[in-house]
């Protein structure tokens, strides 16, 4: 596979990376919206959801995008127009920057970053700035309140997320996402290497904390205080319309997909299948066809994880603001610190 990659000129590789990045962000977003937001939610409410556009409403998404694009782009008179226009772009760009470190196969990756985990967690919090800026520049008290709530919430849940990942990093002995995948698929459980060694088995507490923190980072329902529609209209998105709202909307679900990618890399073994199945010794020995199968495996794991995120979203009522903060600071953070301590002790002891 490497030999094929070398034959592509540099501009071709760049083009492939850009197209791959756009695909890796937009494809999950579209799938999540149709499969879960339109269909799963409808079925959970005993209705069918969109059925008219295309077979079983599968073209509904195109209709929605067309609708948003032709709507008027309204900018409030007192809004800080430049920053107001910039805010949704910041949110979406942070999603694109996030997908860059996710490995989809032995060679199918955008960049092999040795501190990938660090980078992903750092870039993941850039969207906070976009959201805060959107809320503040809208010149609307609901937007401002929503933006401030979002900032408080995202910072509070950033911590347990980072701390939950530390356990995985300790166990894998690397911050490189590709190495974490390799560590999980070349490992064995008490000498049995039938399923590799996905970290969800030992880091189950970390996995739970990570998924709860992701739910909060995405402001999905039990943690949707920033956009609580019954009190804040739509939070920081209140004043946005047309394609700017569309960018926020895509950003929300694309980020859900990318965080699910990262969770599946960290805890579920990523793109890999246990190396012992085909007798691969190391990353270099992995066959080239994994570059095609890997993304499919990743997509499946992503769909399972986002399915759980959406399932929780459609089932639970919303936290109150103080409950939400208390849960992060008094439950999740101590728990994840304890998780790190236990993991570190066991790592040294065994």
């Amino acid at each position: 596979m490497m030999s094929i990659a070398l034959e592509i000129p540099y501009w071709g590789q760049s083009l492939l990376r850009v197209l791959g990045g756009v695909g890796a962000v937009l494809l999950p977003a579209g799938t999540i919206v149709y499969l879960f937001l339109f269909k799963m939610m409808s079925f959970m409410q005993s209705r069918l959801g969109p059925m008219e556009a295309g077979p079983y409403g599968s073209m509904q998404l195109l209709a929605e995008v067309g609708k948003w694009l032709q709507k008027e782009d309204i900018i409030p008179e007192n809004a800080d127009a430049k920053i107001y226009k910039l805010a949704p772009v910041i949110v979406l760009v942070s999603t694109f920057l996030l997908v860059v470190v996710v490995p989809f196969g032995p060679d199918a990756l955008f960049t092999d970053f040795s501190a990938g985990v660090f980078y992903a967690l750092a870039i993941g919090s850039v969207s906070v700035i976009g959201i805060l800026v959107a809320g503040w520049s809208s010149a609307n008290k609901y937007s401002l309140l929503g933006g401030l709530r979002a900032a408080g919430q995202l910072i509070a849940y950033e911590l347990p997320m980072v701390l939950a990942v530390v356990g995985v990093v300790i166990q894998a002995g690397s911050m490189n996402l590709q190495q974490i995948v390799v560590a999980q698929n070349s490992g064995s459980i008490f000498g049995w290497d039938g399923v590799g060694f996905p970290f969800v088995l030992t880091q189950f507490v970390g996995f739970l904390i990570f998924m709860i923190a992701v739910q909060a980072e995405l402001t999905q329902v039990p943690f949707d205080m920033p956009i609580a529609e019954s009190e804040l209209v739509s939070g920081y998105m209140t004043e946005y319309s047309g394609f700017r709202f569309l960018i926020f909307f895509i950003g929300e679900f694309a980020t859900a997909g990318v965080f699910a990618f990262i969770a599946s890399v960290l805890f579920l073994g990523g793109w890999g299948i246990p190396f012992s199945w085909f007798g691969w010794e190391s990353l270099e020995a992995v066959d080239g066809w994994m570059n095609i199968v890997g993304p499919v495996i990743m997509l499946t794991k992503m769909l399972v994880l986002t399915g759980i995120i959406m399932w929780v979203r459609f089932s639970y009522p919303r936290f109150r603001e103080d409950q939400l903060q208390r849960f992060a600071w008094k439950v999740l953070i101590p728990l994840s610190l304890a998780n790190i301590a236990v993991t570190a002790i066991l790592k040294v002891a065994i």
């Binding site: 409808s42 079925f43 959970m44 005993s46 209705r47 929780v312 459609f314």
Partner: protein, 161 residues
């Protein structure tokens, strides 16, 4: 049996509904393709029996939204008995209801002393233009066909002559 935590139970309810919908179909109806029959006494639209109307204006005056427009004139009708005087009656020229204003309170139907107004369960009369929701007495008369039979009187009730 150990108590299932409420959080898990909640997830079970939504997933259970999902599978039930997939298996038995939804509780909703795909409207333009399939229709639900409204209940017989549903308040869909107000129909007019023109022959009973005496243009007494009670309905127009009791309407909270002033959405009923009535115009009429007096004219002579042939006497009831041979050799009698010609009667003076009110003739209805215009009876319009503006359904863009109507709030379906039904006071006009209640107040009509001559049984000229009725509730019909018909509901498919939306219009692209709001001004087209002003319906005249011919249209209101057409809806009379959809008015269901009045329910039977209670046993022992005094029948009106």
């Amino acid at each position: 049996m150990p108590k299932v935590p409420g959080l898990v139970k909640g997830l079970g309810v939504t997933m259970g509904t999902l599978f039930r919908t997939a298996k038995n179909g939804a509780d909703t109806v795909q409207y333009p393709h399939a229709k639900e029959a409204p209940p017989a006494r549903a308040r869909g639209v107000i129909a007019l029996r023109e022959d009973n109307c005496t243009a007494c204006m009670l309905c127009a005056r009791s309407c909270p939204d002033w959405c009923i427009y009535i115009e009429g004139h007096k004219q002579l009708a042939p006497p009831r008995r041979a050799g009698g005087k010609p009667r003076q009656v009110n003739h209805l020229d215009r009876f319009d209801i503006d359904y863009a204003l109507c709030m379906y309170c039904g006071i006009c139907v209640e107040v009509c002393p001559f049984d000229a107004l009725f509730w019909s369960p018909e509901y498919e009369y939306s219009e692209p233009r709001i001004a087209d929701l002003l319906h005249d007495k011919d249209k209101l008369g057409e809806w009379m066909e959809t008015v269901p039979e009045a329910p039977e009187l209670e046993a022992g009730a005094e029948k009106k002559k």
